[in-house]
Amino acid sequence: MTNETVRQQLTEKFGEQLTEWEEQFGLLTFTAPAEMNLKVIQHLYDDESLRFRFLTDLTGVHYPERKGEELCVVYHLHNLVDNIRLRFKIYVPSEKPDVYTITQRFSTANWMERETYDFFGINFIGHPNLIRILNVDEMDYFPMRKEYEMEDPTRRDKDNEMFGR
């Protein structure tokens, strides 16, 4: 099984709904509409030839320039039998970042989704315990969103000469 056959099988099943196909560094990447994430992951899991049954990682990305779909959820899946990985993305608007949870399929997604909620504020519908995991409970913002000023690039108080180097 290769990236090509995986792409072919997925296109046969879902057709034009899967977009933005890429193969960066040999890692097959594609995008689906946000409400289809469960369907796609279920198919990747159940299909006898695809067998993507290991969730390597689940995280978020903030793309402020993608207006109307600023927040991205990334799933990294691994077929342990044929040793093939893929990356699957969905996009949601930052005003209403609702995504269906995949905890019923992968138990490991529980903490990963909590982390993604913690840092990006993505609301995983149906998650059994969607509370902050790494940051303090009182935090009222989502720190990994690109909403905060970058460090001043002209500052000199961290230059080597300030430390006698």
Binding site: L134, N135, P143, E151
Partner: protein, 176 residues
């Protein structure tokens, strides 16, 4: 106390016909006992903890100076070496561990992170900028991370500090 007398038992022996009498000061006896048996708590939150583990192992061997065994419960520990970054979420846990330690208790702040937040001093949302915001510190060791020798030096400095305490003064001063 003179430099050469540091590790000597703080008392004089007066020979008598049937043995002898030891004469000493209560403060010095207590400080001698305390400073030479300081058991650290097993507590490490990042890379400094690796250096702390080195200080405990056979090569540096902090047991030579009376630090002996690290205890995995605060109830049996005299000393907490804060080895590593303390984040906001860890701060209440650290405070609780400190509160659970019996008096007299001592704190060593090991490394840049525990002194000031270190590399996380600027633009952070999660790191406590100095462990002394949470618990009182006796000895600070700069470094990122400090070498085991530096840690041993700090621990011996703490022993020196303890040797100059007054037993009743300590409890009164700290108000515990």
């Amino acid at each position: 106390m003179a430099e050469t007398e540091k590790m000597i038992f703080p008392a004089q022996l007066h020979q008598t016909a049937d043995g002898g009498i030891v004469v000493s000061k209560l403060d010095e006896m207590i400080n001698w006992a305390r400073s030479n048996s300081l058991w650290p708590l097993v507590f490490g939150t990042s890379c400094c903890a690796i250096e702390m583990m080195s200080a405990a192992d056979a090569k540096y061997d902090w047991s030579r100076f009376g630090f002996e065994v690290a205890r995995a419960t605060p109830r049996q520990a005299d000393l907490i070496i804060v080895a590593g970054t303390i984040v906001m979420k860890m701060a209440p846990v650290l405070k609780r561990l400190y509160d659970q330690m019996p008096d007299p208790k001592y704190v060593i702040a090991m490394g840049a992170c525990t002194i000031s937040g270190g590399p996380f001093f600027y633009n952070t949302y999660s790191v406590v900028k100095g462990v002394d915001h949470v618990i009182p510190v006796d000895v600070y060791i700069p470094g990122c991370p400090p070498r085991p020798e530096a840690l041993l030096h700090a621990m011996i400095t703490l022993q020196e500090k303890i040797k100059h305490e007054t037993y009743f003064g300590k409890t009164k001063e700290s108000g515990k």
